[in-house]
Symmetry: C2
Subunit: 219 residues, 2 copies
Amino acid sequence: MAGRPRDERARNAILRRAADIASKDGLEGLSIGRLAADLGVSKSGLFGYFGSKEELQLATIRAATGVYLGEVVHPALTVPPGLGRVWQLCDRWLSYSERRVFPGGCFFFTVTAEFDARPGRVRDTVAAAGLEWNRLVASTVDDARRLGELAEDTEPDQLAFELIAFMETANAVSLLHDAPVAYQRARSAIRRCLRAAATDAATPPWPDPAAQTRAEGER
Amino acid sequence: MAGRPRDERARNAILRRAADIASKDGLEGLSIGRLAADLGVSKSGLFGYFGSKEELQLATIRAATGVYLGEVVHPALTVPPGLGRVWQLCDRWLSYSERRVFPGGCFFFTVTAEFDARPGRVRDTVAAAGLEWNRLVASTVDDARRLGELAEDTEPDQLAFELIAFMETANAVSLLHDAPVAYQRARSAIRRCLRAAATDAATPPWPDPAAQTRAEGER
DNA sequence: CATCCAAGCACGAACGTTCGTGCCGAAAAA
DNA sequence: TTTTTCGGCACGAACGTTCGTGCTTGGATG
């Protein structure tokens, strides 16, 4: 069985599966033979799509970026700038990790840790994606500051560092210890962090945890 | 060089090198052939020390634990319990990461991210080490609370989560972007976090950053 | 003290498997 | 037909692992 048809659709299916595997076993643990067997196609047929393993790795990163944008960034950008958007960005990220959109947790966490000390094109691509995410969070924080919802002297890069730290650590801890409580920890920490930097003019965009607990108890 | 008595020293040398490699390329990227070539010994000779690759991985984790204890935990335990010890623990950890005691940054960060979604003995060992570190930080925080240096209603597990988040993220960011500024970010965040939880009775154990900047400027 | 033995260790070679990668032919699309 | 695409096959290298063989050496033997 061979032929022409929509190589685009097949390619996307390959890459989605590749991202799933890489989120668990890393981009080196992602082998062409296993991926092909997993999808029921031949090694060489799959190989033809990419031409080299490194190209497959780079394409997988691009595909995962698309998923990430759709799951986290774009939804958060539908709410107006300000503290609410900052919270949405964090909450969406935690939800994306918690729901195991990738079975091994955040794809980029796994791949970043794998390549952060290994020079090459893969590392450069991952680093660029990380930098962009960092800039997005920081500029979203800065928007809130300029809108008067965060204190004037808030440092966007510093606050972005802290928010990202909570998110990534929640991902790591929940995976390693199978402990969903890590996501609660992260949400608490983020709330406290944002509340400490918020001005009196701002109205908190996050649900009241006490009210939430009460509501769940009433069911 | 063969013979009897020296096997302990040689074994330690092997494991120290193995931990260095694994901190960069992970415990799977650590191959017996490359490690042997690196040390100038034969594959099979090295293999005989451990009997299997998994056993080598486990022994490497134990060896790295020893380094970690010597570099971070034991020095911090020389200062009396309280806020000062909490700060020492964090500062020593950041220094251990920043000085690249392992060339790929914190050994446990790399290995944890590698195995957190891969069941097996290696994962269990790494998870146990992580849990112990977590407990150490939390109980050190709790000591400070009971001594009246942190607010009575401080939650040790929550604060430990936040402190660890800053440390690990500093490690990751500094590696990925070659950005030592991440360590400053972490120290700032930790200071702010501890200051927010500290009581008036406590005297801050960290150096005044402004004074430090001044001192450096005067050189 | 001299000698020999048994054991421990490291070595080179080779095992079978899997890796990434090319080549080529068949079949489907144009 | 021509073009494109994919499967079968084979390659060299590297993987973890096993095996047989010497060398080194501590301790028992004479």
